[in-house]
Structures are given as structure tokens and as C-alpha cells.
């Protein structure tokens, strides 16, 4: 019997790992929402395509880890921009719901296209050598630590980009007011494309890291992860980057802790009830600001 302290430490590590992967995906949702007030439901499937790209890079091209990560991130970013240009840009002045349904359609398209090529689940070969250390009964796997630290690094880089660079300033400006910002000489279309590229790139990175941590991939893996990351982004306050990260870690934490404390069959029931309560108590999410409504 492991001691209770050790047991909880292990569960906390599990929660951190799950949370950091949700966070990378939730960031994409939040960024796109912040700038376009649009829920990009195809995001979860971009994540899935990222995982398959990682698989291809590792098995066909036989690239090492760093190159695979870079390749996957750039290819996913390219895919994100492509989707934006083809499916979302024409609908920028249409009601928001049509963009949402288009996003759902694009997501379905990506899922079934991947399915046509890979109906069988695939195994991603380990790109990083995994070392398990045991410290007083707790098993630390180097993989877990790498996933957590890499995700945190990417989040910090993103935070820096959004707060300090001119691109980031432009992104924040556009999310505040889309009508007047172009008059200030900001290339709106370019910034929007860059936002999608960054969001999709992060999803691609999440896909790579996910395949490292959970090496079995299939075309439908993006659905539940996508919806959960969306929930995380909303719980944290959709549109804010810090909110997305906080929401993701909360969701990951709650999921793991509920299983740790209660019989695991009740996990979904309890997690979603808690989320429901949270939203009702704080209708705009944790860090979200209510939009001022003029009557």
C-alpha cells in the first residue's frame, strides 16, 4: 500500500500532464474566439491531424523528435491557415452560427478523410527515450516531465508574443474593436491568419506530445479532446489566454481527482455537474469579462 501523500503526488503529476495537453488545445480555441468571436470546432481535428503527421514523420521520414515537432507544428499551422482562408474568411460578415456550422463540417471532413487512409489505429514509435525514476514510491516518468515542461514553455512563449511583440498587440487590438483597427494601418487579414497559424501550430504540438504520452492514435481521437478543451477554454473565460490555461488545468485536475476520490464510473457525471455549477455561478468563466451591453 503506497502512502497517501505519495498517492496524491502521483495523481497531481497525472493532472498536470493531462492539463498541459488540454491547455495547448484550449489556447487555440481562446485565441480564435478572442479575435473573431468564433468557435473553431475543427480545432480538435487539427490536433488529430497533427498527431497523424507526427506518426508519418516518425515512421516514413524517420525524423528525430525535435524535427518531428517542428515539422508537425508548421504543417498544422499551414492547415489552420488553409482552413481559415477557404472556409472562414468568406463567412466573416455572415452570422456567427454559419461559421460554427462550417467549422463542424470541416472537422467532420478531416476526420473522415483521415479515416479513409487509416481505419486502423496506429502506433507512434517512441521518439524520446523514457526513463522512469522512483522516488519514495512515486513513479516519475521523464516523458511526463518533458510534456509538462514543453507545454509550459510554449505557453510562456505565447504569452510573450501576445504581450510584447507588435503582432501580439495587433491581435489584442483586433479583439477589442474590428472596425477601427484597420484604419490604423493594421493588416487585419494577415493578423487573423497569423492567429490561426499560431493556434493550429499549438494544436499540432499538442498532437505530437499526445502521441508521445499516449502512442495509439485513431481518426476520432480529436472529438472528445476537442470538446473538453473547448469547455476548458470557456470555463477559464473564453477569449483570454490566461483563462484558457487555467481552465485547462482545472479540467484536467478535476477529471483526475474525481477518479482518485470516487468510483471511476461517476467521473463524467461529477465533472460535468461541477462545470455546470461553475458556469452558473460565474457565467463568464473565471477570467472572462462580461461584455458591456448597450440597451
Amino acid at each position: 500500500m503506497t502512502q497517501p501523500g505519495i498517492y496524491w503526488l502521483q495523481q497531481i503529476l497525472n493532472a498536470l500532464q493531462l492539463g498541459s495537453i488540454y491547455a495547448l488545445i484550449a489556447l487555440g480555441y481562446s485565441m480564435v474566439y478572442g479575435i473573431l468571436t468564433m468557435i473553431n470546432f475543427a480545432h480538435g481535428d487539427v490536433f488529430m491531424v497533427g498527431a497523424f503527421l507526427c506518426f508519418l514523420a516518425a515512421t516514413v521520414l524517420k525524423l528525430p523528435f525535435v524535427l518531428t515537432l517542428l515539422l508537425t507544428m508548421s504543417a498544422a499551422a499551414g492547415l489552420g491557415v488553409l482552413i481559415e482562408r477557404l472556409a472562414y474568411k468568406p463567412l466573416r460578415h455572415a452570422p456567427r452560427v454559419s461559421a460554427i456550422i462550417t467549422a463542424l463540417g470541416v472537422g467532420l471532413f478531416l476526420e473522415n478523410l483521415t479515416l479513409a487512409f487509416y481505419p486502423y489505429p496506429q502506433h507512434v514509435p517512441p521518439l524520446l527515450h523514457n526513463v522512469t525514476w522512483r522516488l519514495g514510491g512515486v513513479a516519475f516518468s521523464s516523458l511526463q516531465l518533458i510534456v509538462i515542461s514543453l507545454s509550459l514553455t510554449l505557453m510562456l512563449v505565447l504569452d510573450y508574443v501576445v504581450r510584447r511583440t507588435s503582432v501580439g498587440v495587433a491581435m489584442r487590438a483586433i479583439s477589442w474593436d474590428k472596425t477601427f483597427v484597420p484604419l490604423m494601418g493594421v493588416p487585419v487579414n494577415l493578423i487573423i491568419s497569423i492567429t490561426f497559424a499560431i493556434g493550429a501550430g499549438l494544436a499540432g504540438a499538442a498532437g505530437t506530445m499526445y502521441s508521445l504520452a499516449y502512442p495509439v492514435i485513431d481518426p476520432y481521437m480529436g472529438i472528445m479532446v476537442g470538446w473538453k478543451a473547448f469547455i476548458a477554454a470557456v470555463v477559464g473565460g473564453i477569449g483570454t489566454i490566461r483563462g484558457a490555461v487555467i481552465g485547462a488545468f482545472i479540467l484536467g485536475g478535476v477529471e483526475i481527482m474525481v477518479v482518485a476520490l470516487l468510483p471511476s464510473t461517476y467521473r463524467d457525471l461529477v465533472v460535468f455537474s461541477l462545470l455546470l455549477t461553475l458556469i452558473v455561478i460565474r457565467p463568464h468563466g473565471i477570467l472572462g469579462a462580461p461584455r458591456v451591453q448597450k440597451v
Binding site: 474566439y33 468557435i39 472556409a87 468568406p90 463567412l91 455572415a94 452570422p95 456567427r96 452560427v97 454559419s98 460554427i100 456550422i101 462550417t102 463542424l104 463540417g105 470541416v106 472537422g107 467532420l108 471532413f109 473522415n112 478523410l113 479515416l115 479513409a116 472529438i223 470538446w227 473547448f230 469547455i231 470557456v234 470555463v235 473564453i238 464510473t265 461517476y266 463524467d268 457525471l269 460535468f272 455537474s273 462545470l275 455546470l276 458556469i279 452558473v280 457565467p283 463568464h284 468563466g285 451591453q293 440597451v295
Partner: protein, 368 residues
């Protein structure tokens, strides 16, 4: 020439006998087809699916289109209706002796689901937009998880052996009744309240629209109809399980609504019909049959490379078609417009079927 046809068409629709005559014809057909076997079983089944999907799409359109919310809970409502009515017909009511009790079970299922709709309406007082989407999604997940965990009603195995009581005439009756109910609701003062909430909730509150009551009624009506659709579904397939009522099912209903057109009953009917029929038409043997008149030189490579793989290609073509439709008709094919026959006489001139001018109406609907 076209103008003359149009004028004649409009005059027919405005006449008082059109609706009863149309319904009578439909009723006769609905009874005759199964009785005389005018269409084979498969086509009858597809027609029943179309009917059930029409109920689902129209009821979701009430909340998503007319009221401007983004509700994802519809599959959950369907599940509750399906399960409660199935349990009633299997365990409580003696349907074998009195088949008419089936309708009692359907009604009961709908009413129980309406209570759930009340529960979903409560958070909507405080929460709007994407946040309400999460709340409704959470409801759906909770319902699904609860059904999986309660072993007394089958758990993940579901319920099988439900008596097959759904038939084409009954589906026709229920579909017509519920569409009529929703249409009357939409053109009543509550319906105007619903539209007002969509346009500007605070302003409508100030103009003495009881937003809470209207929201509760809209959600309850929507849930009631979805529950009935679920009940009909359960007694058609004779087997239900929690896996059937998941996010994917909600997504399908959403697609039907937004494809056909938001805030339009005719649109929901169109969307539901198109989606269901296209899904069935795009099957390898059906397409092969339809194209069999082509010369072998054209048909054989077509068959080898395309038709044979339609099983998988179908699910690539459908979303692509959806995206294309959205790009051309962003509000759906009949979005914000209405089939003239559904609009009551007094509204015909003001509502019209012309594209609405870009007034405030559009602006608010665009911010959905």
C-alpha cells in the same frame, strides 16, 4: 410565365382550403402506403426517419433559430423521451392488449422530457451565448453518463425488445401535430417574445416581455417535441442505448437545422428531409442502381474507383457539401425566411418571403 405560376401558387396558398386539403391527402397517403404496400419497406422506413428528424429539427430551431441561443442538449432530450416511453410500454402499460396506450406513453415521455427542459431553461436566465452552449453540453453529458450508470435500465447495454409500435401513419400524425404546435407558438405572443429576446434581451425585458416565462416555455416546448421524437425513435428501432444519444447525434440535428435555415419551419423540414434522404441515397448499391443506365465503358471505372468506396466517401462528401452550402447560404437555405403556407394570414404581408432588408433585425440575428 414564371410570374404567372408564382401568382397562381401564392393564390392557392392563400386560399382557405389548401391546408386541410393538403393534410387530408397526406393522411390518406400515410395510411395507404403501408396498407397497400405502395412503396417498399425500406422507403417507408426512410420516410419515418424523415418525419422524426423533422420533429427534431423544428424543435431545435425554436431554441437555436428563433430564440438565438446555442443549445447542444437536444440528443439528451431525445434520450430521456426514448427511455421513459420505452420503460412505460415495456413495464407499466399493457400495450399488447390496448395498442392505443402507445400514444399515452409517447405523451408521458414528452412531458417528462419537458420537465428536463425546464431544468435546462433555468441556467439560461443568467447565462447566454457560448456559455449556455457549455451548460447544455454538460446536460447532455450528464444524461448520457447517468443512463450508462443506471443498471436497472440497462446501463451501456441499453434496452432491447421494445415493441414496434411506430408506423408511418402515426409518425405523420405526430409530425403534423408538433409542427403545427410549434408554428402556432412562433406566431403567438410568446413567439414574438422569443424573437424579441433574440433581438435584444434587455430591451425586450424593458418592454414588458416576461423573458423568464418565455424562455421556460420555449425550452419546455422544444424538449417536449424532442422527447416525443425520441419515443417514436425507440419504438421504431426496438433498441436504444446511451451510445446513440451522444454529441454526434446533436451535431447531426444541428446540421439539419442550420442547413435548412435558421428561424424557419419550412427550412427545418427542408433540412431534415435533405439530410436524411441524401444520407440514404449515397449508398453504393443505390448509386449503382441509379447510374446503371450508363454504358459499361463509363460505368465500370466509375464503379471501381468511386461507387464501391462510397461507404467511406459518403462521409467525406456530406460535410464538404455542408461547407459549400454554408458558403453560399450562410443562414441556411431558407434562413430567416418562411414558406408562405406556414405564415398566418394576418402576417403575410409584413413577413413576406422577400429577403429581409438590412435593418436591426439582421444585426441582432447576426450576433448569434
Amino acid at each position: 410565365m414564371i410570374a404567372a405560376i408564382k401568382k397562381h401558387w401564392n393564390r392557392t396558398l392563400d386560399a382557405r382550403w389548401t391546408l386541410p386539403a393538403g393534410l387530408a391527402v397526406g393522411m390518406v397517403l400515410a395510411f395507404a402506403i403501408p396498407h397497400f404496400g405502395l412503396l417498399n419497406n425500406y422507403v417507408q422506413l426512410v420516410l419515418i426517419y424523415v418525419g422524426i428528424n423533422i420533429i427534431l429539427a423544428t424543435s431545435l430551431n425554436l431554441v437555436n433559430g428563433y430564440m438565438g441561443e446555442f443549445s447542444l442538449a437536444h440528443a439528451g432530450f431525445m434520450a430521456v423521451g426514448a427511455y421513459s416511453s420505452a420503460l412505460l410500454t415495456m413495464k407499466v402499460l399493457p400495450v399488447a392488449a390496448y395498442p392505443a396506450l402507445f400514444h399515452l406513453a409517447i405523451l408521458a415521455g414528452g412531458l417528462i422530457t419537458a420537465l428536463l427542459g425546464l431544468l435546462v431553461a433555468l441556467p439560461s436566465f443568467k447565462v447566454r451565448g457560448d456559455y449556455l452552449a457549455i451548460v447544455t453540453l454538460a446536460f447532455l453529458m450528464i444524461v448520457k453518463s447517468a443512463l450508462e450508470n443506471i443498471d436497472a435500465i440497462g446501463g451501456p447495454r441499453g434496452i432491447s425488445g421494445i415493441p414496434r409500435l411506430t408506423t408511418l401513419p402515426w409518425v405523420f400524425c405526430w409530425t403534423t401535430a408538433l409542427v403545427w404546435l410549434i408554428r402556432n407558438f412562433v406566431y403567438s405572443c410568446y413567439g414574438r417574445g422569443v424573437l424579441a429576446i433574440r433581438e435584444d434581451e434587455i430591451a425586450s425585458e424593458l418592454m414588458s416581455v416576461n423573458t423568464r416565462r418565455v424562455k421556460v416555455l420555449a425550452f419546455m416546448l422544444s424538449a417536449f417535441c424532442a422527447g416525443i421524437a425520441g419515443a417514436l425513435f425507440a419504438h421504431l428501432l426496438q433498441f436504444i442505448s446511451p451510445r446513440v444519444f451522444d454529441v454526434v447525434k446533436t451535431t447531426e440535428i444541428l446540421i439539419m437545422v442550420y442547413l435548412g435555415g435558421i428561424a424557419s419551419i419550412g427550412g427545418s423540414i427542408l433540412g431534415a428531409t435533405l439530410y436524411t434522404v441524401m444520407l440514404e441515397l449515397l449508398r453504393p448499391s443505390t448509386v449503382a442502381g441509379l447510374l446503371s443506365w450508363l454504358p459499361a465503358v463509363v460505368f465500370d471505372p466509375l464503379d471501381h474507383y468511386f461507387i464501391r468506396h462510397l461507404g467511406v466517401l459518403r462521409m467525406i462528401i456530406m460535410p464538404l457539401a455542408l461547407v459549400l452550402v454554408m458558403l453560399f447560404w450562410p443562414r441556411g437555405i431558407l434562413g430567416l425566411r418562411e414558406f408562405r403556407g406556414f405564415i398566418p394570414q394576418r402576417d403575410r404581408r409584413s413577413h413576406g418571403t422577400a429577403p429581409l432588408r438590412r435593418t436591426n433585425t439582421h444585426a441582432a440575428a447576426d450576433s448569434l
